[in-house]
Amino acid sequence: MKPNNLNRQKTVAAWVFISPILILFLCFMLYPIIDSFFMSFYFIRGERQSFVGLGNYIRLMQDTIFWRSVWNMFVILIIQVPTMLLLAMILASILNNPLLKLKGFFRLSLFLPTVTSLVAYAIIFFMLLSFEGIVNSMVKSFHIMPINWLDNPILAKMSLVLAITWRWTGYNMIIFLAALQNIPSSLYEAANIDGAKAWQKFFYITVPQLKPVILFTAILSTIGTIQLFDEPMNLTKGGPSDATLSPTMYLYNTAFKASNVGYGATIAWGIVVLVIILAAVQFKFLGRDD
């Protein structure tokens, strides 16, 4: 057998092995993505379809509800992502400490929220924070007026921040933990000789060394926040008065509840553009090689 032939056989085999996932990807990912792009230039409601050119995009630019939802996510993002990443990094450093006992237990308990179902945990936070919920019955036991967490625009946003942080800190912590193991221990040893304090080691060694991972987690979290859906849907239903509406919830309401499919596709592409812009900004500020 000629080597050339063998190579070709190998290539064919590779394609055969990869084909199931490739076909699934083409049918259920790539095709819908491309199709949704074309749909975003059409008015589609049931039987009625017509080409509107950039009409949907012009409408999106002027859509106060869409921009409100973007603003909501921006507020949540600014507060939630740095808090969560810092928390995750601190927890990871603590767990990375060789002197810590019961490491497996702490690691498990911190990671466990990540494997809970999105809907289930959102409903549990709803039960905690609703007016007749557990948090308020604790508040009442201190003789303070119960607080309507989910009916106040600011508190409702903070409730979301709280819930998301609980759910995702463990996930980022594990990523940081993996990265921490790659930091050469000689750096810390040198710092110890120089008499550096724990916080100095954290900010002058750990954080700079983790920079590429911080960029990675920051981008993932940012994209995740913009695509937030389950939490506002189950915790606040986007209320009060759109204060916690997310762009994807708006997309869902438009495309599936109001069956305005064309404009729904436009919102989806609006979200894509936003994600790209935010990722580019983060690359610029975090991704510079020193």
Partner: protein, 420 residues
């Protein structure tokens, strides 16, 4: 002998409905208590039409049915059932989005049944003068209340005629018992819908323009704001469960709701038997108080392979007095008018202190104004909920809250805002 029997059976049968030889298989999508009822009817129907097979699928809930229906319509009717149950609030959306995808029932003779249904149900099921849906149940609105608490506060329910009376009663109850009169949910439009439904206008006017700025809507919001300012509205409940819990825990003591609430209260608070009553809704400034919340209808997609059987069975079911009476006994409130004359409809109900509540609800059915839900109801609902939250939570002036909501809706739907 056998022959005589079957002739007799056939004769008996033609009294209740006009059968034509039907055979084949159909599937029906429905949910909840509608399912066992349809199953029983299908069994009975099969006895007379042995060549037929009627499958009732419980799809879980209306939202799941709409998802399946939307997807099926987009797939050119593939995988759709032959008969589908659709609520009042959503039927117009499907008709207007997919006008050529439903069977014209008038062409098959459904017009003969028009006289058996209230005007608002007929209007809902017609498109360009033809029936495309068969009316089924309804939800005439009354105020469910707790007589013992009213008594404790010295309120005689029969003296409550207007919303101002209602507010005064609420204040007395709040002061003497600490309970709230009614709840307003900031994630639902049910209170607004119950109140605006008494007028000849709704979220949209008859031409489909946005009617948020109508004097009627402003009146409704003013009444709600008055209740809110008087601190008789409970705002802590969220979702359906929260609403029911507030009622059965006596956090709230009265609520305007569709007749169907009776079954829920009865099953959730069996110990409160005898301490529930139903009074008429307070009258609006035009002296009207008939309104409707909820209700559903049957449609036959034109993709059905067996329209004849689907039509025949559904006509048999929706216009048969015994079956509509069975629906009533199964916990539904039929819109088929002749059923209101049956004895079971006019009996006193023990749970409601022997008040004949069903007969009371039935009195208002014919006066219920028709509602133009339009294709954009779900968007309008979202916007009215925002206007409601702004009014009761943020104290936004009513006209501004409604105006902003109208503008947002106009932006989303391209509809005009009616000027008043």
């Amino acid at each position: 002998m056998k022959k005589i029997k079957s002739v007799l059976a056939a004769l008996l049968f033609t009294v209740s409905y006009n059968a034509w030889a039907a055979d084949g298989t159909i599937e029906i999508w429905a949910w909840n208590i509608n399912v066992p009822l349809l199953e029983k009817a299908a069994e009975e129907y099969k006895k007379e039409n042995p060549k037929t097979e009627i499958r009732i699928s419980d799809i879980g809930g209306p939202q799941d049915v709409y998802t399946k229906l939307s997807i099926g319509l987009q797939a050119k009717g593939k995988g759709l059932a032959d008969v589908i149950l659709v609520e009042d609030t959503h039927i117009r959306g499907f008709f207007e989005n997919w006008p050529s995808n439903f069977t014209n029932l008038s062409a098959l003779g459904y017009n003969d049944n028009e006289k058996y249904f209230p005007a608002f149900k007929v209007a809902l099921n017609k498109m360009d003068g033809n029936f495309y849906g068969m009316p089924f149940d309804a939800g005439p609105v009354g105020v469910f209340y707790r007589p013992s608490i009213f008594k404790e506060a010295g309120i005689e329910p029969s003296t409550i005629e207007t919303w101002d009376d209602y507010i005064k009663a609420g204040e007395a109850i709040r002061e003497k018992t600490g309970a709230y009169m009614t709840d307003v949910r900031t994630d639902d439009d049910i209170l607004v819908r119950a109140m605006i439904g008494t007028f000849n206008t709704h979220y949209f006017d008859i031409d489909g323009n946005i009617a948020f700025n109508s004097p009627e809507m402003i009146e409704v919001f003013t009444d709600i704001k008055k209740m809110n300012d008087a601190d008789i509205l409970y705002k802590g409940a969220k979702g359906w469960d929260g609403f029911v819990q507030a009622l059965v825990n006596t956090r709230t003591v009265a609520t305007p709701s569709g007749a169907w609430l009776a079954g829920t209260i009865e099953s959730q608070a069996p110990e409160q038997s005898g301490d529930w009553g139903v009074m008429a809704m307070p009258k609006n400034s035009q002296g009207k108080n008939a309104s409707n919340i909820g209700g559903s209808n049957f449609v036959i997609p034109s993709s059905s392979q067996n329209v004849e059987l689907a039509y025949d069975f559904m006509q048999y079911f929706t216009t048969s007095r015994p079956w509509q009476e069975a629906a009533f006994l199964g916990g539904l409130f039929p819109s088929y008018l002749p059923v209101y004359e049956t004895q079971s409809f006019n009996q006193p109900v023990a749970y409601f202190n022997n008040q004949p509540i069903w007969a009371d609800f039935a009195k208002t059915v014919k006066e219920i104004p028709q509602v133009n839900f339009t294709i954009d109801y779900s968007l309008a609902r979202e916007e009215i909920i925002k206007a409601l939250s702004d009014t009761v939570l943020k104290n936004t002036p009513i006209k501004k809250a409604l105006n902003d909501a109208a503008k947002r809706l106009a932006n989303q739907t391209g509809r005009k805002i009616n000027k008043y």
